[in-house]
Structures are given as structure tokens and as C-alpha cells.
């Protein structure tokens, strides 16, 4: 696969009356990349995805796949999992998936074999003859994922794919996303499970009030933050680290001190200074998690 499979969101805006849902939003999901799309409720994630799928129309801006504006033919190559899960409740799983595959352009025979393949992969093969509403919620989610995958999509757009899944299903889902990305498919999904996003995603975008506030790898997002060092030395006084070059004290309580280090500060010198105050029970470098970064961005 070539670069022709980069999904580009180019300056899209959307208003609902006076409410600005998306404000000149731009970003890219590159081929073979898993992109985590995070933001508070109402930040504009679902609106962005709906616009990408043509379910909603943007007031301005454009969505392109490999430079080509996304029209109905391109859209049929996208695997989509809407936030509002939706399947025909009274239709049998197999018939339903086969129908959706055909709507995406597969022949009937191709659709049938794809349904077999994906229902086996997702552990719902024995339920193909059952109606959707007779399945547990977790299995309905798996059917919904199968619906997004059954036509061998060139792009995956998944709105909250992990919500409501049990841990086993989360693992299956994660494996599928990684596997699809390895074949060069750009994958974008939204989630509130930030530890999962941090673990799975190559890059992350944090959206707030319809604008992308931070975007990049988790490491890049941490870029602005200097590393923090946590030292637990019960015998130390509040100002034990004050004389050290390139080090400033963030907090000190109960013998636990949090320090920020300028680039180039010598951590061994700090450890030596700490040991002079007495026993040291903990000496650890703390890197902010995505959750902390997210809180910071959203609070800003």
C-alpha cells in the first residue's frame, strides 16, 4: 500500500445553530497508523467521524483519502463503527453481515466467505443463525465490529470501539486493530480508556471545543513537560534539594519530595544528596501518563 491511504481531515467546521461543534479542525491519520482520538464528551469526536463517513455534512472543509475527496465510492471502502450502535434487531447475524458486506460492494460469494472468516475470528461463529436481539450486549458489540471489518476496509473509523467490551473482547479488538494497521490501513478510534489509547496508539490527538489542542506521539505530547523525580527520604527536610543545579522542588510532604529536572541535570548527584539526609526508600523517574496530559490539556 502507498501513501495514497492517508486520511486527511482538512479544516472542517460544523455549527449547530450557535454552538460551534468543529472549528477549522485539521489532522491526518497516516497509512498503517493507529490514531487515538480523545476528548471530553461533546468535544467533537463523533461529529468529526460522522462527517468523515458522509453521514453528516460539514459547513466547510474537506475529508480526503490519499488526496481524493471522500465520496460515496471511497466511503464504501471505510470500515465504520458508529457511536450509536445499530443493527437490525430481528435480522440474523449472518444474513445481516452478508447484507452489509454487499452494500460495501462485495459479491454475494465474497460476502459469505468474509462473514465466515470474521465471525470465527471474533468468536461469534456459532451465533450466525441467531437474531441480533437474542445476543448479549458484548456479542452484539462483536457483531458490530464484524460489520465494520467484513468488507476488508481500506480505512477504519471506530467511534468508542472498546466501550462495553469485556477484557477478553478488548484484547481481541486490540489485536485486530494492530493487525489491520500492519497491513497499512489507517486506523482512527476514539476512546475514554486512555491507558488503552496510550498502549495501542502510534499517535494521539486531543480535541477540545472542536479544536485539536495537542497531537503527536505520547512522547511528543510529553515534550513540553520536564521529567519529574519522586524521592522518598523520610529524614530529609523540605529544602534538601534546593542547592542542586538544574533542580527545582515541586512539592514536599511526609518525606516525599517531587522534583523537576532541567535537561542535563545529574540524577546521580541528586541521589547522593538524598542519601546524605538518611535512608532513601524510593527514587523514581515519573513520566506523565496520557491521562495526566489529557487533564492538563483539557483544563488549560
Amino acid at each position: 500500500m502507498t501513501d495514497s491511504h492517508t486520511l486527511t481531515i482538512d479544516r472542517i467546521s460544523k455549527r449547530y445553530g450557535d454552538v460551534v461543534a468543529l472549528d477549522d479542525l485539521s489532522f491526518e491519520v497516516r497509512q498503517g497508523e493507529i490514531f487515538g482520538f480523545v476528548g471530553s464528551n461533546g468535544a467533537g469526536k463523533t461529529t468529526t467521524m460522522r462527517i468523515a463517513l458522509g453521514v453528516l455534512s460539514a459547513d466547510s472543509g474537506e475529508v480526503r483519502l490519499g488526496g481524493r475527496p471522500v465520496d460515496l465510492d471511497v466511503r464504501r471502502t471505510i470500515g465504520y463503527m458508529p457511536e450509536e450502535r445499530g443493527l437490525y434487531p430481528k435480522m440474523k447475524v449472518g444474513a445481516q453481515l452478508s447484507y452489509l458486506a454487499e452494500l460495501h460492494g462485495l459479491s454475494r460469494a465474497e460476502a459469505r466467505s468474509a462473514v465466515t472468516r470474521w465471525t470465527e475470528r471474533l468468536g461469534i461463529a456459532e451465533r450466525v443463525g441467531d437474531t441480533v436481539d437474542s445476543l448479549s450486549l458484548g456479542n452484539q458489540q462483536r457483531v458490530q465490529l464484524a460489520a465494520a471489518l467484513v468488507h476488508d476496509p481500506a480505512v477504519l473509523v471506530l467511534d468508542e470501539p472498546f466501550s462495553g467490551l469485556d477484557p477478553v473482547a478488548v484484547d481481541v479488538m486490540s489485536d485486530v486493530l494492530i493487525e489491520k494497521a500492519r497491513t497499512g490501513v489507517p486506523v482512527i478510534f476514539s476512546s475514554h480508556q486512555l491507558d488503552l489509547v496510550q498502549r495501542l496508539c502510534d499517535r494521539v490527538g486531543i480535541i477540545k471545543h472542536g479544536k485539536m489542542r495537542a497531537i503527536g506521539t505520547v512522547d511528543e505530547l510529553r515534550g513540553g513537560e520536564s521529567a519529574q523525580l519522586v524521592v522518598h527520604a523520610p529524614g530529609a527536610t523540605a529544602d534538601w534539594a534546593r542547592h542542586l543545579a538544574g533542580v527545582s522542588t515541586v512539592s514536599h510532604s511526609d518525606g516525599r519530595t517531587v522534583l523537576t529536572l532541567d535537561p542535563g541535570a545529574d540524577d546521580q548527584e541528586i541521589l547522593a544528596a538524598a542519601m546524605k539526609t538518611g535512608p532513601v526508600h524510593e527514587f523514581s523517574l515519573h513520566r506523565p501518563s496520557l491521562t495526566e496530559l489529557f487533564r492538563e490539556v483539557v483544563a488549560a
Binding site: 453521514v55 445499530g86 443493527l87 437490525y88
Partner: protein, 394 residues
């Protein structure tokens, strides 16, 4: 993927979903059996002349028998005369309902008619004519009149009836076919229109529509649904028609083969037009609500319109060529139900048939554009029910 394939895929799903329902299959088998059974039953109970013949028992002298049969033919009340050995047997058989009347001739030429409670007026006339006729004949013979010559002379004095506007011998069959066509069209349009609305709401309330609309244009989904469900309605109507007309012709209840086939074809054709007219409106009505429970609020006006059509058609059955029926049959959608009726009644011509079809088609196309717009605008709007006023106003 082109539009034709997209619409075909949607239509196929709608068709299969509908015809695979157990309730659908069972109810259709029951209705088909009822149609054929009803017609066969009707032919058995109304067709045989024996049931109509009045049974007269004649006690003793049987010379009155030919006079009774002749009088029956003359009056139009055919009778069957049987010989009864004695008076007591005659009374018993009247009592058991075996005989309508037992006639006991007296030696003086008078006769006693024994019946259960009262004697039918026609039968009374038959008996009177026979008895007085026999008495008259005897009297004339006694006076030396040549009775045979007399009846030959009188035979020429016959009144021939000439009608200016003869009654249509097919009228009964035409009325029956009109009522059948009107009733079926009413049920099919109302029922399958409602299926369209419910199908649209099902997709909307289950949110599957969002997935569908990421691969289909709203109009492809709309027309696929209308065509798929309409095809089920058409097949069902054709099955009823084949069963009804077939059973009617086979049993001899229907004798007007050409008219029956014309009405059958006309009903199918007008179903297509009438259904399409309402189906697009029903789809719009379905798209305007978010929950199944609310669908009645937006389909109510459509149901009222269909019922108005039905009642206007029923009032026209007795007078299919009246002014009201003539005027309404030009107005869509009333034409959809009145034209098959007028065709069954044989009171329309090719100009009106072609004219009304053209008018109905034009109006249906125009309406489908408006309804499709409403559908397109409402199908993803979840929440409050959109009213018709709002839907047309936007």
C-alpha cells in the same frame, strides 16, 4: 457500485425479510384457503336449482300433478311434486319439514293445503292456479267445450316484454368484483404503506440507518425499501387475485372471463400506482419519528385519506357512473381505487383510463420528490417528532 445495484440490494432484503416472516406465511395461507373455500362454498349452496324447488306432497289422486308443475313454471316458482299415500303421512312429513306443502284433494274439486305455519305467497299462487285450472277444465269439459282447442286458441294471446334498457345479466358479478377489488386495494395500500413506515422507523430507532447511510444515498435506501415492500404487496395481491378469479371461473360463479381478467390486471396496475403514491408518504412519515410508539401520530393523516378513498369507493359501488364517482376518479389518489371499480363496472373508456393513469403518475412523481426530501432531512434527526407542517415548511 451503481444506484441500480444499491436499490436492488435494499429491495431484496426488504422482500426476503417480509416473506420469510412466519406470521406473513401463515396469514396468507389462511386467506387463500378462505378465498377459494368461500367461492367454492358459494357455488355449491347457490348454484344447485334443487335447493330452490318447493316440495309439494300430493295425497291420493295424482291427476293434479302435471297442473302443479305447469303452474310452477308459469309463476316462476318451480315445484317438485311427490306422491304421498295417505293424509297422516302427509301431515307428518310437513311437520318434519320434509315437505313445504301437502295437498289433499277433496271429492268436490276443492283441496286442502297443509303447511307448517304459513304458506309462501308464490307457492300459494301455484296451488291456486292448479286447483282452479283443473276445476275449470272439468267444468268446461262437462259443458262440451273442446278443451284442447281452447288452450290452442288462447296460446296465441301472449304478451311479449320489450325492454328499452335491459338489465345487465353480468351486473351481479361486476358488483362482486368491484367490491373485491376495492377491498383488496384498500387493505394492501393501507397495510403495506404501514410496513414501509415501520421499516423506516425500525432503521431509525435501531440506529442501523447510520451504518446504511455511510454506504448508501438516502434515496437509494428509500426506493429500495418502497420497491421491496411493494413487490411483496403485489405478489400477495396477485396470489389473492389468481385464487379468487381462478376459483370463480372454475366453479362457474364467474362467467365473464374477459372482464374478470381485465379487472384483475387493472387492480394490480392501480395497486402499483396507489401504493407508490402512499409509500413515499409513509416513508416520510416514518422518518419523522424516532420511536415505534410515535409512528401513528404521523401516519394518521395518511390513514384518514385512505379511508376517505375507501368510503367514496364503496358509495360508488351502487352507482359507479355517478357524477361524484366520475369526478373523483380523475383526482389522485382517489383514482387508484375508483378506476379499478369503474373498470369492473364497465363504465369507463380508454381515454379515462389513460388520462387518469397519466395524472396519477405525474402527481406521484412530484409527491415522491417532496417526500424524499422530507425523508432525507428527517432520517438522521433523533428526538422530537417532526410534524407534517414542519416537514413541509422547512
Amino acid at each position: 457500485m451503481n444506484t441500480a445495484r444499491a436499490v436492488r440490494l435494499v429491495a431484496r432484503r426488504e422482500f426476503l425479510t417480509q416473506v420469510r416472516k412466519k406470521s406473513f406465511l401463515i396469514s396468507n395461507v389462511v386467506i387463500l384457503i378462505a378465498i377459494v373455500g368461500g367461492i367454492v362454498g358459494y357455488s355449491i349452496f347457490s348454484g344447485g336449482d334443487d335447493a330452490d324447488r318447493a316440495a309439494i306432497g300430493l295425497v291420493g289422486d295424482q291427476s293434479l300433478s302435471p297442473a302443479l308443475v305447469a303452474a310452477g313454471e308459469q309463476v316462476g316458482t318451480s315445484v317438485e311434486v311427490s306422491e304421498i299415500p295417505d293424509e297422516q303421512t302427509a301431515r307428518d312429513r310437513v311437520g318434519s319439514g320434509d315437505l313445504d306443502v301437502a295437498l289433499i284433494p277433496n271429492p268436490d274439486g276443492s283441496a286442502t293445503a297443509v303447511t307448517e305455519s304459513e304458506i309462501d305467497a308464490g307457492l300459494r299462487t301455484v296451488v291456486d292456479i292448479a286447483v282452479t285450472g283443473q276445476a275449470q277444465q272439468r267444468a268446461l269439459t262437462a259443458q262440451g267445450v273442446d278443451v284442447e282447442q281452447l288452450s290452442a286458441d288462447m296460446g296465441a294471446a301472449v304478451v311479449t316484454v320489450e325492454t328499452i334498457d335491459p338489465p345487465d345479466p353480468e351486473e351481479g358479478q361486476r358488483i362482486a368484483m368491484s367490491i373485491a377489488a376495492v377491498t383488496l386495494l384498500y387493505m394492501q395500500i393501507l397495510g403495506f404503506g404501514m410496513y414501509v413506515a415501520m421499516g423506516v422507523v425500525e432503521e431509525k430507532s435501531s440506529r442501523v440507518v447510520e451504518l446504511l447511510l455511510s454506504t448508501l444515498r438516502p434515496l437509494q435506501l428509500l426506493w429500495g425499501k418502497v420497491i421491496g415492500i411493494g413487490a411483496v404487496g403485489l405478489v400477495q395481491l396477485a396470489a389473492y387475485g389468481v385464487a379468487g378469479v381462478g376459483a370463480g371461473l372454475a366453479t362457474g360463479v364467474l362467467t365473464v372471463t374477459g372482464t374478470a381478467l381485465g379487472v384483475f390486471a387493472g387492480t394490480l396496475g392501480w395497486f402499483v400506482l396507489g401504493f407508490t403514491f402512499f409509500a413515499v408518504l409513509y416513508a416520510a412519515a416514518g422518518s419523522m419519528v424516532s420511536r415505534q410508539e410515535d409512528v401513528n401520530s404521523t401516519t394518521m393523516p395518511l390513514m384518514l385519506l385512505i379511508m376517505a378513498m375507501f368510503f367514496s369507493a364503496f358509495s360508488a359501488v351502487g352507482n359507479p357512473d355517478g357524477t361524484l364517482s366520475n369526478v373523483l376518479s380523475w383526482i389522485p389518489p382517489f383514482s387508484a381505487i375508483l378506476m379499478p371499480l369503474r373498470m369492473a363496472a364497465g363504465v369507463t373508456g380508454p381515454v379515462q383510463v389513460i388520462g387518469t393513469i397519466a395524472l396519477m403518475t405525474v402527481v406521484t412523481v412530484a409527491l415522491s420528490l417532496v417526500a424524499a426530501k422530507i425523508y432525507q432531512r428527517s432520517i438522521l434527526r433523533v428526538g422530537k417528532t417532526v410534524s407534517w407542517r414542519e416537514a413541509f415548511g422547512r
